[in-house]
Symmetry: C2
Subunit: 308 residues, 2 copies
Amino acid sequence: MSILVVGSVAFDNITTPAGRAENVLGGSATYFSLAASYFTKVRVVAVVGDDFTEKEESVFRARGVDISGIVRESGKSFFWSGEYGDNVNEAKSLDTQLGVFAHFNPQIPPKFKDSEYVFLANIDPQLQINVRRQMNGARFVGGDTMNYWINGSRPQLEEMLKGVHALLINDTEAKMLADDTSLARAAAKILKMGPKALVIKHGEYGSTVFFGDDAFGIGRRHPFRAPTLPLETVIDPTGAGDTFAGGFMGYIASRGELTRDVFKRAMFYGGVMGSFTVEAFGTERLQKLTREEIDERYNTFRELTHIE
Amino acid sequence: MSILVVGSVAFDNITTPAGRAENVLGGSATYFSLAASYFTKVRVVAVVGDDFTEKEESVFRARGVDISGIVRESGKSFFWSGEYGDNVNEAKSLDTQLGVFAHFNPQIPPKFKDSEYVFLANIDPQLQINVRRQMNGARFVGGDTMNYWINGSRPQLEEMLKGVHALLINDTEAKMLADDTSLARAAAKILKMGPKALVIKHGEYGSTVFFGDDAFGIGRRHPFRAPTLPLETVIDPTGAGDTFAGGFMGYIASRGELTRDVFKRAMFYGGVMGSFTVEAFGTERLQKLTREEIDERYNTFRELTHIE
């Protein structure tokens, strides 16, 4: 089944302990759609400037991603410059230029409205609400957010949370959103805010999904935790979270049913895709994977934590 | 098979966000032996003062632990006072009084020398070396250490590491010991220092075991990661690491063979025992478990991360 993602398509300057990359294709919708493209058909809604050329288009086209919903405006695309120190979980933002993204007001093309799976990448929660309203027939809506909106747009964020089936955030965001230092308690509080499933990403430790009482007919059950492979070398962590979301949502959309087993495997696929992304700068590694490589790593991750 | 543990038996004053407990039985050898007692016969070598009475003895005796190796000296037992804030992974030490522990020079009673499994709890690495020499027929030796020794007794610690089959430490200690910010790289470096297996405890995220090239005939294989259950309430984290070690080593000793599957289940049992300890102050929860409760939680942990 097709999945629709609404988010940013951007250019990034990235410095990590492993080196530096300039003006590479980035943005939440980019990482998400490339990752999800290995599982299902992907449609993107975003806005770009004059600097988005045939070269960037071809990255999406090569993966069969439908970019007819990417609007071109006069000006520059979203630009981000960031630096990572030894703690690869934390980027220092050096520069952010919104460019044409400043006036982003996503309109879903009529031909995308039949998308049963939707991902609201990390943008202004008011825009996420607007997209959700345009996609009110969606079967499964995932969403992301960040500290900036948790602190600065609380009412809109709470409204947005009522409209997502699964929220995907990291430990820090979960604790901040729930105002609780215990991850398990924070999860319980967030599930009362709307989402039926809460996926908390723990960076190199993997991720945990918590389920609400009425989650997809599978009910409130024990959480499920998926590990990641301990990596000796992380080249560039940029986009790992969006890539996780792409693997997670893409796998779910490809199955067409929401069972506990589908959720479990989706958690593993999220971690698998994220682990590829960090092996190279930008989307380089994500552009040229094969489903065989993905499934091989899936099996490695499974073995990492499997007991009979 | 019997397991021998050499470490501290102490009294603790503990303050956590959940409350306060005074003068409760503690110490690394105490937590370890109570946890291991659910899996195998345990022998303790430690030193205590006049304050160690029939009341404390009965805690060990009720679990069938052989405490004939606990030496009594005139004076006070090791005393620790600590406080936990919202970050349950980090205790603030308020007071430490070594008491009779200051002159601890462990002598292994002849009748304990046939112990095939040995755990060198967190004490001065020079004492760990001395114990290791007295137990040179041991089949499987586990060890623990901490920042204090990593920084202050490096040569002795490196000597100690050559004598242990498995080292059990946490993330911070592993990174400090290897002087590397990547956990996976740190693990590779530490395995070159001597241990055939390195168990890194990640607190609420679980634990990972890394294997060296010649590990127990199972060879260098992918690491194995065991999760822990996300807990809403942590009453008192004191002793969780020693309890993990007790579950891990106790299970291995109970099996009598070192296979990858035994290691995997030992990692789960370590996490399971640790998760019980934090549910109450001191050793309260550890004193009154049943093997049925333990196996029930083992199954919950397994389900937490199991995919077909």
